[in-house]
Symmetry: C2
Amino acid sequence: MKKSSKTITMPRGYLFSAAEAGLRTHGTGPDVALMYSTFPARVGALFTTNRVKAAPVLLSQKNLRDNKHTCQAILVNAGNANCSTGPQGMQTAKACVRRAADLLGLKRNQVLAASTGVIGVPLDAAKITGLLPSLVRRLHPEGYKGASKAILTTDRKTKVASRSLMVDGSRINILGFSKGAGMIYPRMATMLGFFFTDAAVEPRFLQSATRRMTDLSFHRISVDGDTSTNDSVFVMANGQAKNTPIRARTREAEKFLETLTELAQELAIRMVKDGEGAKKVAEIRVMGARTEAQAEAIARAIGLSPLVKTALAGADPNWGRILSAAGNAGVPLNPDRVDIYINRMLVFRAGAAAEFDEAAAVRQLRKKSVLIRVVIGKGSAQVRFWTCDFTEEYVRINAEYRT
Amino acid sequence: MKKSSKTITMPRGYLFSAAEAGLRTHGTGPDVALMYSTFPARVGALFTTNRVKAAPVLLSQKNLRDNKHTCQAILVNAGNANCSTGPQGMQTAKACVRRAADLLGLKRNQVLAASTGVIGVPLDAAKITGLLPSLVRRLHPEGYKGASKAILTTDRKTKVASRSLMVDGSRINILGFSKGAGMIYPRMATMLGFFFTDAAVEPRFLQSATRRMTDLSFHRISVDGDTSTNDSVFVMANGQAKNTPIRARTREAEKFLETLTELAQELAIRMVKDGEGAKKVAEIRVMGARTEAQAEAIARAIGLSPLVKTALAGADPNWGRILSAAGNAGVPLNPDRVDIYINRMLVFRAGAAAEFDEAAAVRQLRKKSVLIRVVIGKGSAQVRFWTCDFTEEYVRINAEYRT
């Protein structure tokens, strides 16, 4: 993956603002953000697969259906997930979205919603609606900086990145920011991802690109393996680059998806790095599989294994745990054909331990970033998955009694 | 569940012995055991579902097939899993079994094998075969005490229990012992369970009873969610109680299965209590489901969730995590119909927080043993699952560099 440039390239026609509603139980800073496209945008969106869905998730799904996957604004808050809050929760979500739509001169179903934070605590609509006039007034292209902060819960850092590419003679730009990884805090949950592009994109392709990009990035990382009630990814495409709308199965579609995926992977890896208690990131690369599904099942089993993750914390070149986790993936695997590498060191070959310099392997594993390659055969499918080490600090953070 | 009596009731016709082969990398004590039935016994057996299977697992499976699920002895060792040790691993397992069979005057396929411990380190057959003459000489009914010690790895305590029941006028006895829970140590893995009964049991029913008993006990517990390469459960039934062989779908079969399951659950709960770093046991009881499969998926999702397990460690009455884990089980769930209880306290009712005394809930959760009940509807299916809290100590133990 290319390194992200430090300079953020802004897509045309997007404005942002953020404010502090005092929703956080810990800490201060902005906790509400408004994201606005000056033109109606096509939206690709994916939501949590959890059977328990927060009110803003249900409302966004409804608005996208009603408005044929077009919208112009997203209202987001941190500090309160507005989940399992009874019928009142949906009324609150609707009240906030209605007020934002009125102030922006939009139809109500043109505004989407997202929340992250405490589950089961009523969210006071007035705390958000009272801020909306000021949020609308202060909308500005540079407002993404505040917005990317307002969505954070236990994250230590904001995650913002951008990419540009040429599509049939037009330069198009994509800005993305995200928070969280898995469900990483007692009551402050959720992975949220927001992407804004000025590209014109054919709506069906936008949705399939959103899904594929998510499958290859946010669905390929793990901090603790939980899926929150509020997970949401949005990709807004407002067409202000004036390119011919990108259609599926074209060279342009391929380039767009590749760039979008690269951007999402950069954010995803930063989310793993920022995982609670995490001190290092490991890329699990499973190669030589017959199908991507097989490779993914194995990569996921390795990336989720608490034993692999604690071995990473201890810089233990314990290929037995990696192999055993792979064997647990529920897909065919012949251990006699498996090779395992830690960075470039072969530690397991064709069913038995390889001779390797254990001290050197420990040094490799002490690095902040490690590549674990598992070659399972002669197939052509491969998959990348990112995980972090599992430290005592993770347990400490999550075991603390909520106050 | 009834409390186990402290007195162990011995089944007729079983002898045991144990010795120290020096296979352990940490600590001392017996690490090899021989278990012998003075008459050929029917055997119910279940092995790991991991695609990576240790040599003793493959050998036991072969011997059971070749010998129509009859055997007379089991040879077990701790300290070395004899897994991923190449073709030499199978030769070692065979050499040990062959020597035991010769000394006992049995055919080779009448001896089964089990191992637990380090993966990927060659096991020296001579260390075990050299002890076999003494092991055979010292076989004794009371030898189960040493044998139940010899199978331990990081377990802090032996787990032994027994039950008796009357079957058509004959008293039959069942002795069981086990080790481990999930895969709970860097290189010392595996759940092993051994059951010995003097009942006469029709072979097909014995196998189905072994499976059902395991499904309701060892498959319903979790320490860390990993499945080892060596997991094995054996139930030997040698018929020395002289009862009419127990057949499926009879009143006797029901009683036998119930007693066997109760015994296995007692051992399973002790394994959870003894889980690495564990300080308490929680029973997750999911009730009101339409099917057992639905209830089990939900109970398992809750019992495996790192967030639920860390909340248990912190005595945090965090029903949001329980509900969210339930929603992640991949089966239908309507949160508006869910009630959640901590012991007898209702903490979540029909889709929203119940009013409850939080301090009192914390006191309930501070106990060594907690019942979490999740009622998901009006169905008649229910399931029990046992898990432990997830503590910093677990991570510390598993992150330590192997020496």
